[in-house]
């Protein structure tokens, strides 16, 4: 997957959690949680969906690395290079 594919995947998952989420003014360097009003329970859904769709086991200590759209791409790119 390319960085762009990964970003699309993340947004797809978020849209699945909240179909009214508005991505128009999303800043890829700012925390997703603040911009999209996601709580910790919603955030867990992103992790679980990644596991379900791509068999990725993300340890809890790495959750902060999924904070922004760009940091998601940084973190997931090597893990999803063959996906």
């Amino acid at each position: 997957m390319t960085r762009e594919d990964i970003k699309t995947l993340i947004l797809e998952i978020i849209h699945d959690i909240d179909d009214e989420a508005d991505f128009d003014d999303l800043d890829p360097d700012k925390p997703l949680r603040d911009q999209l009003d996601l709580d910790s329970m919603d955030f867990l859904d992103i992790v679980m969906e990644l596991r379900k769709r791509h068999q990725l086991q993300i340890p809890e200590s790495d959750y902060p690395r999924l904070a922004t759209l760009n940091s998601c791409a940084d973190y997931l790119e090597p893990l999803l290079q063959d996906a």
Binding site: I17, D37, D39, M41, D45, M48, E49
Partner: protein, 461 residues
């Protein structure tokens, strides 16, 4: 047989937990002892009609747009469509302390605020302070028991107002006598006064069926009439369960929603709290024929009342304490269709021991049930007007009835006075959710199931 995840108890917390897990992994089995799901909120058929066992109202009403509200968080976590709830909001509810004072409240928090400002002017500022203190208070931080009553008496100069505020919150969720844990109070205050109450349009069965369909649609499995006789364990890890039929089911993890002592019993361990009092209740359903003209109020949904000088919320010395209680008029939710019959429901505190003693004599027990329904009706009629002439059917649940159908020890619907807030029972792969984890009400218990799965189970797969 082996399943990765097993949930014991098909009440609302167990159902929610099983659905939450099934969203990511369909290999989950839900075991329910009874032939029907729902636990405390189930249903039965009598007189050619369906009756709900426990439901008065669902608390935690929230508008669809309020993302952070517990109700909407729950729906997102389960991916359960809000339309399936078929929400009908309460019209207006009331706290009535006979001959002394009354307070109206609804799903608009301003109503009770204004009521307090006009009826308890000395406490008006204190009430605002209470609201802002609760706003900044995190009830989910695990802390030792702190008395809500003492906390309130410190802020509100009117003792009567303290009792009046506690009355509905205790009746809808306190397992402690004459008091509540402050965290529990904070949760209930928000659930009932700041958010409000609603009910589904059909019966609870419609909602349970939809939840079950959703669960099955995700691939989850369920077995009803499947009581657990013991949980197999080595003191540290659990390996599975043995059913009352003798069948063994091995599993990876277990979430038990059947209560703390009830779960310990399956582990062959003694109860943690043999000395504390459990609160029992009696509930009577009166089915009324509308055309026989009882002039029941149409503008009150739930009435919490107290007729005695001081409000008591404790186990009575007699079988039933008629001096206070709850009246539910289930047809008085907004937008429900008019029907030829309606219900009046009453709830009072009761003594499990007294009912158990008399139960040895079947006839005396039945006659006490009838007397209870009569006495309760007279107490209710004093508040809502006469309806006795229009009753076509009535049924009374005693603490023994509740124990039999829900398997809640001593019929105590709010469970053990001692709560295990983190769900940790000292095992690697067995956790507790539901009533004894400390979240109450339908939304609360379902969130309990969801959050225990999030915290303890999902990360193991």
């Amino acid at each position: 047989m082996k399943v990765p995840f097993l949930v014991i108890g098909g009440g609302l917390s167990g159902l929610a937990a099983a659905i939450r897990f099934a969203r990511f992994n369909p290999e989950v089995l839900l075991l329910e002892k009874h032939s029907r799901i729902g636990g405390l909120n189930s249903y039965f058929y009598r007189n050619n009609r369906i009756f709900e066992t426990g439901l008065h109202a669902i608390t935690n009403y929230a508008d669809a747009g309020n993302r952070r509200a517990p109700l909407n968080r729950l729906l997102r976590q389960l991916k359960f469509n809000r339309d399936h709830l078929d929400i009908h909001q309460q019209i207006c509810s009331e706290i009535v302390f006979k001959g002394v004072e009354s307070l109206l409240f609804s799903n608009d928090f301003m109503l009770i605020k204004d009521e307090i400002a006009s009826k308890f002017p000395r406490s008006s500022d204190g009430f605002d302070r209470l609201v802002s203190l609760l706003d900044s208070f995190d009830p989910f931080t695990i802390a030792p028991f702190r008395s809500a009553r003492l906390f309130l008496l410190d802020i509100l100069p009117d003792r009567l107002l303290v009792d009046m505020l506690l009355c509905p919150l205790m009746y809808y969720g306190s397992s402690v006598e004459d008091d509540m844990d402050l965290s529990q109070f904070a949760i209930m205050f928000r659930s009932i006064f700041q958010e409000g109450m609603f009910r589904p349009g059909g019966s609870i069965k419609t909602l349970l069926d939809r939840l079950l369909d959703h669960y099955r649609g995700l691939g989850g499995s369920i077995r009803t009439s499947a009581g657990v006789r013991e949980i197999l364990h080595d003191g540290r890890k659990v390996q599975g369960v043995v059913l009352t039929t003798g069948e063994t089911i091995h599993c990876g993890s277990i979430l038990s929603t059947i209560g703390l002592d009830e779960t310990l019993a399956l582990l062959h361990r003694p109860p943690l709290s043999s000395d504390s009092t459990r609160l029992g209740f009696v509930e009577t359903i009166y089915q009324i024929q509308t055309c026989r003209g009882p002039t029941l109020p149409t503008d009150r949904t739930i009435i919490f009342f107290n007729n005695s000088e001081s409000f008591r919320y404790r186990r009575p010395d007699q079988a039933v304490d008629f001096s206070s209680g709850v009246i539910c008029l289930p047809s008085n939710f907004a937008g429900l269709q008019a029907t030829t019959t309606k219900e009046v429901r009453s709830t009072h505190l009761a003594s499990y021991e007294q009912w158990q003693t008399i139960a040895a004599d079947r006839q005396a027990y039945e006659s006490l049930k009838t007397q209870t329904a009569e006495r309760s009706r007279l107490v209710l009629e004093d508040i809502v007007g006469n309806f006795g002439q229009a009753i076509v059917f009535q049924d009374t649940f005693t603490p023994l009835t509740i124990e039999r159908y829900t398997a809640k020890k001593e019929g105590a619907i709010y469970g053990n006075p001692q709560k295990i807030k983190d769900g940790d029972l000292g095992y690697d792969n067995l956790f507790l959710a539901g009533t004894d984890q400390g979240f109450l009400g339908i939304v609360g218990s379902m969130l309990s199931g969801v959050s225990m799965v999030n915290q303890h189970i999902l990360n193991k797969f």
